[in-house]
C-alpha cells in the first residue's frame, strides 16, 4: 500500500516538473475528448431527429396492416377488424396511444393543378396521441372531429396547387369496385412539417368522411401505435401481435422502414469507430510524452532501483503519471463538450445546406444531443487504451539495470 502511495505522490510531482510538456499533453487530450463528445453529440442530434421524423411520418412505433397492404396500398387491402372492434379490443388491453387511419393514394386537384398525394382519413384526437405528422398546424385550424368535413393539407402543397384556406379542392381515389370515388373538400388548415416532402405528400380529412367517400364504412387501412422509447418496441409489438391474433401483419418501425432501422445500428457502430480514430491520433502524443519522461529520468529511475524500489513500483509510477494526465485531460474535455452544447440548445441552423440534408431525410436545424452512454464510451475508451499505450514505456523503465542506468550520461 505504501508503494502505491509513494508512486502516486512521485507521479503527481513528476507531472508538474516539466509543466510545459504536461500542459501541451493536457490540451491535446482535452481537445481530443471534446471532439469525440461534441461531434458525437452533433451526429446523434442529426440521426435522432431523422429517426423521430421518420417515426412521425410512418407514424408510430408499431403498425398493423392487411398482409397485402404494404405491397399494394389499395382500398381492397384493409385491416380485418372494423374500427369498433379495434376500439373495444385495444381499450380492453389498456392500449391508449394508437390511431386508426384510412390511407389511400389519391389525386388532389384545384382549379389549376392536380397532384398525387396520400389521403389520410384520421381521427384527429387519436392522431395527436401518436404525435403524427400533420398535428402542427401553421395556418387555419386542424381537424376537429372524426366527421370533420374540411381537409388539412401541407403548406407547400397549398402553394403548388395555388389554393388557400377557405377554398375547395377535389380529391379523387378509387372505391373497392375500382370505380372513381371523388368528393370536394374545403381547405380548413395548413400543416407544417420538418421536411418539405411530407408537406407535399399527405392530406388529412376526417375518417368517417373518407370512409363514406370510398364506400368502406367502418374499415381502416392501418393502425398505428406508439410508445415512449423507439429503441424499445418489443413489448408493444408482442402485445399488438397478441391482440391481432395473427390476422394481420404487425410490424415494428425498424421493419416498416428498414433504412431508419439500420440507421440506428450504423450510428452506434459509427460512434465507436469515430472515438477510436481520434484516440489513435491522440495515443501517439501520449506515448511520446511518457517515453520522453522515462528517457529524461533514466538516472533517477536507476537511483530509485538502487535504493531498493521494486520494478513494479517504477511501473506503477509511470502508469499513475499517465492515468493522472488522462483523467485531467478527460475532465477538461468533458466540461468543454458540455459547455459548448449549451449555447446550441436552440438548435444549430444549417439551412444553408438544407436541400442536401433533405435528400437523406434530415431536417435543417440540428439539435446536438449528448447521450450519457456516448460520454461513458469515450472516456472508457480513452482511459483503457491510454493505459495500455503507457504500459510499454512503464515496462521499459522498470526493466533498467540500476548500475547501467545510474552511469548513463
Amino acid at each position: 500500500m505504501k508503494v502505491v502511495q509513494i508512486s502516486f505522490l512521485l507521479a503527481s510531482r513528476n507531472l508538474w516538473r516539466n509543466y510545459r510538456r504536461t500542459i501541451i499533453m493536457l490540451v491535446a487530450i482535452s481537445v481530443g475528448a471534446w471532439a469525440m463528445i461534441f461531434m458525437t453529440a452533433l451526429m446523434r442530434g442529426m440521426v435522432n431527429e431523422m429517426l423521430r421524423d421518420g417515426i412521425r411520418s410512418l407514424p408510430g412505433l408499431v403498425q398493423v396492416h392487411n398482409s397485402a397492404y404494404r405491397d399494394d396500398p389499395s382500398i381492397n387491402n384493409l385491416v380485418s377488424m372494423t374500427d369498433i372492434e379495434i376500439e373495444t379490443t385495444f381499450a380492453a388491453a389498456g392500449i391508449e396511444r394508437y390511431a386508426t387511419r384510412v390511407r389511400v393514394p389519391a389525386i388532389i386537384s384545384s382549379e389549376r393543378e392536380s397532384r398525387g398525394v396520400t389521403l389520410l382519413g384520421v381521427d384527429p384526437l387519436r392522431e395527436r396521441s401518436i404525435e403524427a405528422v400533420g398535428s402542427v398546424i401553421a395556418e387555419g385550424r386542424g381537424l376537429e372531429s372524426i366527421d370533420d368535413n374540411g381537409i388539412v393539407i401541407g403548406k407547400k402543397l397549398a402553394g403548388k396547387l395555388d389554393t388557400e384556406i377557405g377554398k375547395r379542392i377535389v380529391l379523387m381515389s378509387q372505391d373497392p369496385d375500382n370505380e372513381v370515388a371523388d368528393r370536394g373538400f374545403r381547405v380548413v388548415g395548413l400543416f407544417e412539417a420538418n421536411l418539405a416532402a411530407q408537406e407535399e405528400a399527405f392530406v388529412f380529412a376526417g375518417r368517417t368522411v373518407v370512409q363514406k367517400m370510398l364506400g368502406i364504412d367502418g374499415r381502416v387501412s392501418e393502425i398505428a401505435l406508439t410508445g415512449d422509447d423507439y429503441r424499445n418496441v418489443e413489448l408493444l409489438l408482442a402485445d399488438t401481435r397478441r391482440l391481432m391474433d395473427g390476422r394481420d401483419e404487425v410490424l415494428s418501425w425498424q421493419e416498416l422502414d428498414t433504412f431508419l432501422g439500420t440507421m440506428l445500428g450504423v450510428m452506434d457502430g459509427f460512434v465507436l469507430v469515430w472515438i477510436v480514430v481520434i484516440f489513435l491520433a491522440l495515443s501517439f502524443g501520449l506515448v511520446n510524452t511518457l517515453v520522453m519522461a522515462v528517457f529524461e529520468r533514466v538516472r533517477e529511475i536507476g537511483l530509485m532501483l538502487a535504493l531498493g524500489m521494486r520494478p513494479s513500483g517504477i511501473m506503477l509510477q509511470i502508469i499513475f503519471e499517465s492515468l493522472l494526465l488522462l483523467m485531467l485531460g478527460l475532465s477538461i474535455g468533458n466540461a468543454l463538450a458540455y459547455a459548448s452544447v449549451i449555447p446550441l440548445k436552440d438548435g444549430l441552423d444549417i439551412s444553408v445546406v438544407a436541400e442536401g440534408m433533405e435528400m437523406f431525410g434530415a431536417a435543417s436545424v440540428l439539435y446536438p444531443e449528448i447521450q450519457v452512454n456516448d460520454v461513458v464510451l469515450a472516456n472508457v475508451v480513452v482511459l483503457t487504451l491510454g493505459l495500455i499505450a503507457s504500459l510499454s514505456p512503464a515496462w521499459r523503465a522498470s526493466r533498467y539495470e540500476p548500475v547501467k542506468a545510474i552511469t548513463k550520461v
Partner: protein
Amino acid sequence: MSMESWTQGEKRSLVRVTAPKKDRDNGTLIDGNKLWTYSPKINRVIQVPSSMMNQSWMGSDFSNKDISRTDDIIERYDHRLLGETNLDGLVVYEIESVPHEDAAVVWGKEVFRIREDNVMVEQRFYDQDGELIKTLRTLEVSEMGGRTVAAQQRMEKTDTPDEWTEIRLDSISFDVELGDSVFTLSNLRNPRN
C-alpha cells in the same frame, strides 16, 4: 381533324377520329363515369384513370372531364337564375351554378347562358376567386337533323387568348336505332359501324 360520334341517352357515347390519316381510329368511349381511349398506334384500350380526368382530351382545350360529365351538373350544383336577355328574338336565360360543398368540382361557379329552345349559348368556368378560367362559346346555331343545335362551339382559356379548340358539326341525325354493341370496348378497338 374530323370525327364521328354516337350518343345514346345521357350516359353513353363514342367518338372516333376519321381524319387526318395519322390520327384515324383514335377513339374515346364514355359509359357513365368511365372513360376509355383507344390508340391504334399502340393498339391498346386504356381506361383513363381519375388522375387524368382533368387533363386535356386529345391535346385540345377540353379536359377529359369536360367531355365525359354531361348531366350530373344538374344534381351536383345549386342553380340560380341571374337574368333573362334577348338574343335574335329568343329569350336567353343566364344561370349561375355553384357546386355543392362536397361536389367533386374545382370550379367556384359556372355560368350558363341558355336559349329558350335549349341551345346553350355560353358556358363560363370561374375559379373560387371569381376569376374567369375558360369559356365554351357557341358561335353558330343552325337547324340540323330537324332540330336546332349549336353547330359551332369554341373552348377558350382566358390565360391563352390566342389558342382555342373549335368543334363544328357537319351533320347530325337524331332518333337513330343503335345496338348495344356500339358502346363496347371491342367496338372502340375494332370499328364495325
